[in-house]
Symmetry: D2
Subunit: 344 residues, 4 copies
Amino acid sequence: MPVRTFASDNNAPIAAEILQAVVAANDGDAVGYGHDPYTERALERLREIFGSSSDVYFTFNGTGANVVALSCLTQPYEAVICPATAHLQTDECGAFERFSGCKLLAVQCENGKLSLENLKTFAHTSREEHHVQPRVVSLSQSTEFGTLYDPVELRELCAYAHAQGWYVHMDGARISNAAAAQGLGLREATRDLGIDVLSFGGTKNGLLGGEAVVFFDGSLHRGAAPFARKQAMQLASKMRFIAAQFLALLEDDRWRTYAAHANAMAKLLEGRIRKIAGVRITRPVQCNAIFATLDRKAIETIQQRFFFYVFDEHLPEVRWMTHHATREEDVAAFADAVASSLGN
Amino acid sequence: MPVRTFASDNNAPIAAEILQAVVAANDGDAVGYGHDPYTERALERLREIFGSSSDVYFTFNGTGANVVALSCLTQPYEAVICPATAHLQTDECGAFERFSGCKLLAVQCENGKLSLENLKTFAHTSREEHHVQPRVVSLSQSTEFGTLYDPVELRELCAYAHAQGWYVHMDGARISNAAAAQGLGLREATRDLGIDVLSFGGTKNGLLGGEAVVFFDGSLHRGAAPFARKQAMQLASKMRFIAAQFLALLEDDRWRTYAAHANAMAKLLEGRIRKIAGVRITRPVQCNAIFATLDRKAIETIQQRFFFYVFDEHLPEVRWMTHHATREEDVAAFADAVASSLGN
Amino acid sequence: MPVRTFASDNNAPIAAEILQAVVAANDGDAVGYGHDPYTERALERLREIFGSSSDVYFTFNGTGANVVALSCLTQPYEAVICPATAHLQTDECGAFERFSGCKLLAVQCENGKLSLENLKTFAHTSREEHHVQPRVVSLSQSTEFGTLYDPVELRELCAYAHAQGWYVHMDGARISNAAAAQGLGLREATRDLGIDVLSFGGTKNGLLGGEAVVFFDGSLHRGAAPFARKQAMQLASKMRFIAAQFLALLEDDRWRTYAAHANAMAKLLEGRIRKIAGVRITRPVQCNAIFATLDRKAIETIQQRFFFYVFDEHLPEVRWMTHHATREEDVAAFADAVASSLGN
Amino acid sequence: MPVRTFASDNNAPIAAEILQAVVAANDGDAVGYGHDPYTERALERLREIFGSSSDVYFTFNGTGANVVALSCLTQPYEAVICPATAHLQTDECGAFERFSGCKLLAVQCENGKLSLENLKTFAHTSREEHHVQPRVVSLSQSTEFGTLYDPVELRELCAYAHAQGWYVHMDGARISNAAAAQGLGLREATRDLGIDVLSFGGTKNGLLGGEAVVFFDGSLHRGAAPFARKQAMQLASKMRFIAAQFLALLEDDRWRTYAAHANAMAKLLEGRIRKIAGVRITRPVQCNAIFATLDRKAIETIQQRFFFYVFDEHLPEVRWMTHHATREEDVAAFADAVASSLGN
């Protein structure tokens, strides 16, 4: 029986159709660096989905996607407003700062979500040269806490940002989970709400590895994107294998099938957990993550069988994630382990 | 029939055993970021090969490997001596400079090979703060012209560099081709000659994608390597799939089988080309690349059937490369096309 | 009558003895970049004051001093803990981030002062490569709010930082004001309390322009400091003129005379302000700055005669500063203007 | 008698009128960071000289001026073409690369002068993302060898660069010497020939310290210049004292008087040197520098009395410089010392 973790959607295997697409693409030679028919078709398909003015760049990983996206929108004296809990701020080891020289303006906020009030505090930044100039708002959908901005919220945040002359970047490492949860299409969940640039995640939704930076208006990066991707060490020579994965992911809306399944497994787990005494769910469960607090010893007991992360050592607060390949019996086994660890 | 190019070894498909290893690794969940059994085994295997003091970091691509390796050996006021024709200098879009802030000291040299004389010109750099301080010598084996340093040359260059207090980095995107051509083991071709850090190439030798930075002495990077890899956006979350490829590449010395085949195909092509009137081979053919000059119109004629690059528009000089999957009939077809384009 | 502002101590003229020293140093040629007798003497004098293991580097300005100091103590994946209100964080336009690629970890705190509690939140930072690693604590003495850490506080903060393996940097743009206020010598106020590196301010205490980075242990920067200063564009060719100013500042403890005068003028102003109805002093007045809140219209009225900054537009909160050349009659005229603006 | 060196024009004292201007500006308070009447007047004067579309930024030193100028004209994947002997390339410790992340494309050329042929080699750079994109040509006038581009040459280089879409930056650390030698005005010697941005040197022509970055078209930097200067740690708080120096330098064309004197002293020295057996002048003497080769022991003998630099240890080749304060008797004494060292 395959090992299951509840640590992260990046612990998941490759979805069968995706792996099959990689195998199928391994047919003879193909010109490198994206000048191959797989990449051409994948980019065409992404432009169909996101609109013909879109300009798309595949990258290896999510940190790479965020750095390419943001560095193309900023000059080194400009800054990016983001939640203090953004992956960009807490889990990317300052890659963006090192690569771009820019500053992140990290904001305390609730459940990983920026509010209009948060943005307003930057509206009156002095234009004098003593101060970095806010230029981009970066938000994650779904957030690092598995929560969601609803479409009305996003529309409002984007409108406010644009009124200030700021761009809005979405870290969509899990945009598929968000769109699936809200019954939206990929474009409806992003561009149509006012997002300017999307880091479109694949790796956490069943891919071997690959992300896509989508500029909804190709003129936004002023010609910088191909160079930024190369300098960010994100230009794959055998790009056909990333492209083939995206083609498979987009075919038959598999992105939605995988993500919806992950979400459903989290809901299933949530239902089970809520019945267990001694564990408290700490955040709204809106996608494929559950945050909870429980006894430290119980955590250790469960971890002997299932790998997962303690997010906040102080409480302690743990994170449990599901993914495209999580099965109902995995959820049952895990919930049983939680219950048993707490003497239920 | 599969398409064949003679453009680059990165146009090649994935070798069958490598792809099979990826498929086999797709078994259940695995902890991310290298804390999985595949990565553990692959790192152990690499330490067996390169010596137990080695410290190894997988990366996505060659530019990433070079940047991680070099940035761990330098402070921002230190510089890297390299050939003016190094991939690092000409084909990585300044990724190293942007990431590290360091300067490359690019040296004019022949057939892509640094000489002792080249190094000596940096021996008396003033230690005053007006001048960047040479700290690393970076050389490519095989070179970007498909030529080789012989072991005696390398030993001498390394000894000289070490006497100056410099490290030696090898861009080994094609180290397997070099070692195969010289009948050396991987360690014999690198560490044993005095190399300090190796970018060990996989992508150009049959992998889907993956490289390894090998510090032969783990203390060289002073704890920086894991962080540098993360900041360089080269830390794969699903690292098991890179590790599994390396395990397969190292098993039964497949690295040598693939590379030796590529070399043999180049030799075969060389033999054919030398018999064709109107084409002149311009560099020693020592691995899997042939550089040649021929009539501009003939080039265009051949390119209608086979993709390859014109390296130097002025002569013009073209590059033809073979790889692990090049077949004798591909060589024959290509040589026929060259002959026919020149009216032979 | 000379113009007086109450905006900043950097609006002050050059102190007479300092200017005289510049004039006196203008005698014939002198070798550039610090290889002159003035610089030699000034460095010797600074080592006498701060201890013979000290290593000192003059810079042009305070941002330059901070950047040189901090960049010598950090690798690009390491971070600097500082107050959210630090000059470094708010008023240096991200110069440190751009130059070093490092991240600042900005902490909400009171009256510009880091507390032990603030530091403790960083003590358990994961050592994994996903996270930047705290390496230096930077604090300002006196703070940007004119407040002071007392020696016991500083000793405790330094001891805690050192126990974590962190260095402590003091932004001493106004260390003279602090030392004068506390009756301490320069060494007693810095090194003796545990500070590792000091940005020793001159410009705000009567100089034409010049600061000094003082590493109390010269081995801390591992040879990087001269190069970092040059790369930070802070190496003066005619360095004798910075050195001569420092010699004059240190002679007869003029640094103390100037700073004590500035402090006394602030005390005088405080006394006057406290008697005026409609204005409230918002921070402890411990050096040469007074923060106050008063009616917006009154502010505008005063500003018609005296230039000063509104620090926080929301309250509004203003900052009034005194300096070495502020005279009692200036204070009287200013206090009268405040009183009159409020109908007193 | 004052010490004289023949090492560099930055070993010179401050010119009397310049120092007087600093003293005169020391009158009461003045608002910081350039919002003072001296700066306003100096900027106005510079716009009168260089044209009303000019936008000017004072900096502390020449490296700072070059870095501010060039970083405002480039994106991080763009590159600057310059002579291999440019101060920017050899004597600024990679400050530009560290600050901007950009690459310098250093060109071998004669007597420090770029030729049209040099530029042409970059005209066909591939626009693919593998390669940095040339964006600016930086040339020094006078050059680091004391030689001059004549106006026709400069006009031709600028026209060629502009046709390629490149900007032209002039490192004018010694533009006054050049303009004086060629009988041109400051604008005639720069903007009127096609230069886009000038680093206008003051420190080497009699100032205490100060340079000015002059964008001849203020739109070139797209709003970046004030921020770039601040991030480059070149924003002086007491800017009035730099501005006052420039006002004095420009008054009565003192820049020309000082520079012409320095040039004349070099001519005088050249005349004396040419009569001495055993010393050979190696470069055209066109401004205030003489390069010469002579016996190594003679060099040491002269250096016992006069400080100067050996530029190239191999020949050996020395550099002797004159400046605004070099007197005829200094030249005579120095020439005597040279003669005597060679037994003349």
